[in-house]
Point group: C2
Chain length 484, copies 2
């Protein structure tokens, strides 16, 4: 399975020329991730991993604030456990990696590398949960998972990826449903606040739901080539895994009941979404809240700058760091300021701070925004507050721009011909009435590649309309798109 | 490979009766970890994982302060990569898990689940490093690894475990050696400061060094049954992996050179060390700095306590939390105070704060130390500062007690008969002169089970002494022990 790693791109392909190529160029040139010698597996490089650390911190804080705790379950799952929930095994068996030998020993029972952990966690919950007093169990795990993918793309779809998976057990169906929606709301708030990524929250169709769930909900983003990206999912598992794994408890009325389960997850795929949502032909544009460096300081090397400009640059850095701003001071001799401007733009640093001998005289600096490329002269006095304000402004501007993009790329189509001609291009979201049948859904996918991303909570009822495909009355306005 | 999970222990076996049994009872009853249905793999439960999170934070902060960044490399390694460094494959091949099938596809080349990542990381470094300007590369990874172990024990030796692995590349041999020792010193300082775990730092013998290293260094702790525990290792890899993976750079003089490498790691095994180093027959004793709950507040439920005592308990909790203390308020109705005292002692919470109606009248609380079981009445006024001070005192007391234990269990033996009779018991460390030969080392191990833990940096030269076993002049005072 050892594969050759292609050479590094020397320049970034413009988005308009080839969006897919642009994406890979940015990921590799900005040193976010790289191909590895293992087919379908990527290396997350330090700059990309620093973004993941910020995502982890932001999510972990929210999980703990909603009462969850972290734990860790085994990577390897015996085959006999995977097969205990019928729909689950059907969904996942075709895409798992099999361990058949340990050391010199050929295993009596094969093990799979977890593609997700419902089965191993369910086995433990059956041991741990005895009484209604033990409920709810609210556990999250940060882990790697492996799904054998045929077609992969850095961050967006890789054989191994990093994620978090929440697994909860509840006394009642109502509590499980509340939890399912609570965590979807956490994902939405996180995506919009931290990633500046507007998302549509709603319910997946029967054919798109998680293997073994009663209901699956998702948040869906629209990236800049008009494709949708599923950025997070939350599943109400009902009592399916409880029955498969015999997770029972003594209820308040002394009867023995099965627990009601949920699971929910987001992954390193989110980073791919951020890149595709905000980037431009110059490279990456990072929202300040998840930027490893929020400000890069580039001193202008004129005259005896190491004695004059550099100490001031260091002083500014220290003052900003003391305010909690993440700052990189690029004082390398080996590169020109122009080279550095270009490099940090490519890496998406939200704000560049330039300072040279003339600025020093005037007690000012130059601030350059990555998103708008606007430059302004700003007095040293009050600089810290000004920088913080500007970072907040950029965060909001990126979000607003993404909302505008999405709104401009969301259209309605009630008739199938109109729908098909829209989908011949890449229109973004197309809202259409649908009868609820999997047959019509499959037929649309076959003919246009578009799938129902979800039925948004906020979608209007299709009063008096008939299905896009058949003549049956529509039951919902579904949001269709081509997707990653 | 699916195995039965034994039932929960109902009581803790005394240390004096069976230390190994005591250990497993504590781990499971305190809900730190549990057996899993996968042979040799454990589940780290939320309380145990919370300790790991604190360990991670403490180490990660130190790694970043010494210039390191995090990244993530693939879990799966092609067989052809593993075999590129001859000693490395010889050391690790017997204990790896093999993936032979992905989905429906039988793999052309087998993959191993990483037992450690020198090979996959080396492959990437060969791509990334071009010039001396790219050096040093200072990368750390937090990850799971799998080593197929025949005999396992929760935390101390498991088929899968969590760890961090640092992998660095340097321009010169001197820099690599400095890095190797720098990180060993970071581990020592961390273990002693955060875990209250005194360790002996020194160099491993040739036969105990890492497969593929030039030199291996370790920190070794002594736990309460007189066995040593290797708590962290740091390896100077020389140019071995650089040559195996062709990691070269253009040097300052334009010549092409191989990089000099290091790697270093600590794992969840550290948690096992903490348990065995500080615990007693009542269960766990956690050093405050890594205790998930540093203080547990137990309100005494008399009269209308929910209206009187509880609000005060909540107020105290909030005030302590505001000072950065980790506090658990146990206000369950379902359990008596006595049950709670016992339970939180078992779980090793360093400080218990009791408050009842009488305390309320006197404007005081009761503080009970887990380590000494001392109780004291403390006025409400100035409580926060008092608690902080007491936590620091407990941290220091645990460290001091461990140093005393180690010193009392470290003896010298110059003659082999004396050595053998000491090792018939479980004496702790035995310091003996050794000639440096692997033959004598192996013979000692065969006859007594004792191994050389390391040659401490601080060990005195064996002037004029001859080897414990043969008549050759001793080259060092080696520290022997039976070990985990």
């Amino acid at each position: 399975m050892s594969t050759e790693i292609p050479d590094f791109p020397t320049k970034i392909t413009p988005q308009s020329e080839d969006f897919g190529r642009w994406y890979i160029d940015v990921v590799r040139r900005a040193e976010l991730a790289d191909y590895s010698p293992v087919k379908g597996c990527m290396v997350i490089r330090p700059y990309g991993y620093a973004i993941w650390e910020l995502i982890q911190q932001g999510l972990d804080r929210r999980f703990k604030a909603t009462g969850h705790v972290n734990a860790y379950f085994p990577l390897l799952i015996p085959e006999s456990l995977l097969t205990r929930e019928a729909q689950h095994v059907e969904g996942f068996a075709p895409q798992v990696a099999w361990v058949t030998q340990g050391g010199d020993e050929v295993l009596e029972e094969r093990l799979v590398i977890r593609p997700t952990s419902e089965t191993i966690i369910g086995t433990m919950y059956a041991k741990w949960i005895q009484s209604w007093r033990d409920l709810p169990v609210l556990i999250n795990q940060w882990a790697n998972v492996v799904r054998w993918e045929k077609v992969t793309r850095l961050f967006l779809r890789t054989t191994e990826f990093l994620w978090q998976e929440g697994h909860t057990a509840h006394e009642t169906a109502e509590e499980a449903q509340e939890e399912t929606l609570r965590m979807l709301a956490v994902y939405k708030e996180f995506a919009e606040t931290e990633l500046a990524m507007p998302v549509v929250d709603g319910q997946k169709t029967e054919s798109e739901k998680f293997a073994g769930a009663d209901r699956t909900y998702s948040i869906e983003a629209l990236v800049r080539d008009g494709r949708a990206l599923q950025a997070g999912t939350s599943h109400n598992l009902g009592q399916n895994f409880a029955k498969g794994f015999n997770i029972t408890f003594q209820a308040r009325d002394k009867s023995v009941q099965f627990v009601h389960g949920t699971s929910w997850g987001v992954s390193t795929r989110m980073i791919g979404g951020v890149i595709m949502m905000h980037g431009d032909d110059g490279g990456l544009i990072l929202p300040p809240r998840i930027a490893p460096h929020q400000v890069v300081i580039v001193p202008i090397p004129r005259g005896n700058w190491r004695e004059t400009v550099l100490p001031k640059a260091e002083e500014i850095r220290d003052a900003l760091v003391a305010r909690g701003v993440r700052v990189k001071l690029d004082d390398r001799d080996s590169q020109t300021p122009g080279w550095k401007f270009n490099e940090w733009e490519l890496r998406g640093v939200p704000l560049r701070l330039e300072i040279g001998p003339k600025d020093l005289e005037k007690s000012q600096v130059v601030l350059a925004r990555r998103d708008t490329r606007e430059k302004s002269f700003v007095p040293m006095d009050g600089l810290g507050a000004h920088v913080e304000e500007l970072l907040a402004t950029i965060q909001q501007a990126l979000y607003d721009r993404a909302v505008t993009y999405r709104d401009e790329h969301t259209v309605e189509a009630d008739g199938y011909e109109a729908f098909k001609s829209l989908m011949a291009g890449r229109p973004g979201f197309v809202i259409s009435p649908w009868c609820g049948s999997a047959t019509c859904e499959a037929s649309i996918k076959n003919q246009t590649q578009a799938t129902i991303r979800n039925i948004p909570f906020a979608s209007t009822p299709p009063v008096g309309k008939s299905c896009l495909v058949c003549d049956a009355p529509a039951t919902a306005h579904a949001w269709f798109a081509k997707s990653y």
